[in-house]
């Protein structure tokens, strides 16, 4: 057993921290995310989910799931659904001058993540949303299991959460969607009338052997999309503030944020570069391969230090460690660096959170997607967000990942009625 508590023995551990080397590794089909052998055994908390599947199974799964991330769907969420839901929620959540930003970010993000995942909840019920956020917190610990300080405790916690999540949220949605799919199969309903979400497409295609789906995998897959769509957005919202607040000119930056949506998007992308959700990605060599002239033996662990690569001065300028949303970046380099990965496992929701790439001249098309976190940042900026010098933020110390928070106290302008 390894020192992380996994039943995985690696033949070697090889670390890359250069941008192009990491990109080469992310595109190498011989390197998989199947690093935990128990991934393929019954009961593993991540068994069979798209994030750790490999090869043809992974590609088949992504083909049907990527349908939920088409540009027209992103625009619908960003321009119509989210602003209304977000502002109504913020009116309720910012009920005092002093609040904790992190749970607010989670509650904002979980609304749309749940909708995209395809689970049933009452969007007007804070109890429902808080229950979902609780599950997201547990699933997030599961997704970061390789960096967990107590992996066995995390496994037990996640298994219990899956059971509750399935019973409370997935099964009701499952029954409703299956009934609609049955109607489609009987010719009573057009397929285009089905809900647009991950659960629906999984149920619609579950008999396809290429997808390797069973009931447990469907529940875990839905949980994966709920977690992925919530956690990164909430953490990025907080990290953006944590990067802005120490600046002497942070009041000017926040004022600019409130007025300029494209600037808000660049702030988000700069935040993602400096604070990647997964600072060190890990892969396992399924077969011997070579990266940047380095021989990688079969069963080696390959560590990809994205946090370091994202600070390459040749790509991001002379002071890459600085927070500078206006920095010049070449058209062929994403402003978020490698934080969304690359290759087949590139994050499917990157445009949801971070929007489309921003061109070097900052001239975007009319159909540009800015990303939901930019909208969230603008909304809190317009409500007068500022640091709370009397209460210290609290990092999530259950993980080695330095980009995760548990609490982030901030202040807002006092409510008008106060």
């Amino acid at each position: 057993m390894s020192d992380t508590g996994l039943l995985t023995a690696f033949s070697a551990t090889i670390v890359f921290d250069r941008y192009e080397d990491i990109r080469a590794a992310l595109f190498d089909p011989n390197l998989s995310r199947s690093f935990d052998k128990r991934s393929y055994e019954d009961g593993n908390i991540r068994s069979g989910i798209v994030s750790i599947s490999h090869g043809s199974t992974h590609r088949a799964r992504r083909r049907i799931e990527n349908t939920q991330f088409r540009a027209d769907v992103l625009r619908l969420y960003e321009r119509e659904l989210f602003p209304r839901v977000m502002n109504a929620l913020l009116d309720v959540l910012i009920d005092a001058e002093r609040v904790d930003l992190f749970p607010i970010g989670e509650l904002l993000s979980v609304v749309l993540a749940a909708r995209r995942a395809g689970i049933e909840y009452d969007a007007g019920s804070l109890d429902d949303l808080r229950a979902l956020v609780h599950h997201v917190d547990v699933f997030s610990q599961g997704s970061a299991i390789l960096d967990a300080k107590d992996p066995d405790a995390v496994r037990a916690l996640v298994r219990r959460a899956y059971a509750d999540f399935e019973r409370e949220f997935v099964r009701p949605a499952w029954a409703a969607r299956q009934a609609l799919i049955d109607r489609v199969r009987r010719g009573e309903l057009a397929e285009s009338e089905l809900p647009q979400d991950i659960l629906t497409v999984l149920l619609l295609h579950r008999q396809d052997p290429a997808l390797e789906l069973d009931d447990g995998r469907i529940v875990r897959e839905v949980a994966t999309y709920l977690q992925g769509g919530t956690h990164t957005s909430a953490q990025t919202l907080v990290n953006a503030c944590d990067l802005m607040f120490p600046r002497a000119d942070h009041e000017d930056v926040i004022e600019r944020l409130a007025a300029d949506q494209l600037f808000a998007q660049r702030v988000v992308q700069e935040t993602l570069r400096l604070r990647p959700t997964t600072p060190k990605m890990k892969r396992r060599a399924e077969a011997e391969t070579e990266i940047a002239g380095v021989r990688i033996p079969k069963d080696a662990q390959v560590v990809l230090d994205v946090a370091t690569a994202n600070r390459d001065p040749q790509l991001f300028g002379e002071r890459p460690e600085d927070f500078d949303a206006d920095r010049a970046v070449d058209a062929n380099v994403a402003r978020w660096g490698l934080s969304f990965g690359a290759g087949a496992h590139q994050c499917p929701g990157r445009a949801v959170g971070g929007g489309f790439p921003v061109p070097p001249d900052f001239a975007v098309e009319a159909d540009h997607v800015f990303g939901l976190v930019a909208l969230e940042l603008q909304a809190v900026a317009r409500r007068g967000i500022r640091p709370d010098p009397e209460r210290a933020p609290e990092r999530d110390l259950r993980t080695e990942r330095f980009t995760r928070w548990l609490h982030y106290p901030v202040r807002f302008r006092p409510p008008v009625s106060a």
Binding site: R59, T67, A71, Q346
Partner: protein, 78 residues
């Protein structure tokens, strides 16, 4: 010079990156969840095709010249 553009349906995962980068040359076949080249791909600028090729997360796009050789271009989409 016209280019010959193909998308390997076994490798493609329907990310839509090529459609976003060059909508005149690619579309998603939603029945299969994969990208297919359009007629406009043949006459698209090589630099744009090279960028779409480089932006493909699974390297499913091939662009060749009249001799069957890959067109030159950067690693687009870094």
């Amino acid at each position: 010079m016209p280019a010959h553009v193909t998308v390997d349906p076994e490798l493609c995962i329907g990310s839509g990156e090529c459609v976003r980068l060059l909508p005149s040359a690619f579309r998603i076949d939603e029945s299969r969840g994969v990208s297919v080249p359009l007629a406009g791909a043949a006459t698209a600028a090589w630099a744009s095709l090279a960028r779409a090729r480089g932006g493909c997360p699974t390297r499913a796009i091939e662009v060749t010249d009249a001799n069957g050789d890959p067109i030159p271009g950067d690693a687009g989409g870094r």
